[in-house]
Amino acid sequence: MTTVRRVDASMSLLNDLMRQPIDGDYAAAHAARVARPSSRPQRLTRSGLVLVVAVVLGVVLSGAVVNLRAPTAALRASRQLLVDQVSERTQQADDLAAANAAMSDQIAALQAQALESSDPQLLARLRGYELASGAIATIGPGLVFELTDAPGDGAPAEPTSLVQDVDLRVLVNGLWAAGAEAIAVNGVRLTATSPIRSVHQAVFVNLVPVTSPYTVSAIGDPQTMQTRLAQGTTSSYLALLTSAYGIAVSTKAADHLELPGAGASVLRYAELADVASSDAQDSEGVTTP
């Protein structure tokens, strides 16, 4: 008769682990101590040694835990560096934008000054064009729309409950169609080349990020605009936004709206004047960035 193999012999490692998780040393040491108690001075020295070793181990253990939990100093330093760089560059960009605006004002003033004496008619025409293209600040009566994201209770909001770029585009196009003369979204003046689009969850108007509540101000005759909006599809679109997605939309007429200018227009296309017609055909224009 051969020795009987245990059914779970292959599991002996697991069995050992499960049955005897505790170090057998505890029981052995206990038995030894009971059998042969140590003398008092022996115990004292041992206690001192034990205490020292235990304190050292405790420091090492909690040190390890603290090290694991806290982000390393290098990580924090590099993060701080990045934050500094971001704020520094933002400051630089703001300064440059301010300088740019000041320059534009100066150029416009000089232009007006020069034209006033030489060609007042041209200046008047230029003013008209600038007004229509949104280059200069405009004042007048109009309508103010306010679109607010649906309340999300702090949870990450559903994309549909946020105001999207398409919502603003529909409203703005509706306003243009209804006879608006000048439109600004959250204080950003729209021109013929201003895009309204989403990047992730942020809406960018003319490459400037804007956030909820979105205020769309349109200068024009309030009554005409309201009537034409109601006749078109825009008002039903806004009603749908409110009923289906919980986006709050409010409208009010304003007697005095002040929209900022979009700044001096950039020269994008130019054509040589006073040359032979064949030459003008060939040089298709000089573009500047």
């Binding site: 040491a29 405790g58 909690s62």
Partner: protein, 110 residues
């Protein structure tokens, strides 16, 4: 008991002193901490069994931590560091669980 008190004192001191761990040792910290946890649970069970011994506690604590770190170090040198880490974590995890079960039986008689 002296060992436990000493360990607590040391742990408090460590929290306030925040000793820096050399970068070379950083990869072995998680395993070392798990091994230390295993030793602590074993000690708690021994206390409840009435067989606790300071010397055994410290020796098992130290050897647990060192052996665990050593295994991971060897694994790193052989290119199987993450697998060996998993093995160590599994073994220590089982020990912690069964020690916790024994402690539970002691405390709640269930």
């Amino acid at each position: 008991m002296i060992a436990v008190i000493g360990l607590l004192l040391g742990a408090l001191a460590g929290i306030f002193l925040e000793p820096s761990v050399p970068t070379v040792l950083q990869p072995y910290l998680p395993i070392a901490v798990v091994a230390a946890l295993d030793a602590l649970f074993g000690a708690l069970r021994a206390i409840l069994d009435g067989t606790f011994d300071d010397r055994v506690f410290l020796v098992s604590f130290l050897s647990n931590v060192l052996v665990a770190a050593l295994i991971v170090f060897l694994g790193d040198q052989l290119g199987v560091g993450s697998q060996l880490s998993t093995a160590v974590v599994v073994v220590l995890g089982i020990r912690i669980f069964s020690n916790a079960a024994a402690i539970r039986r002691h405390l709640f008689k269930a």
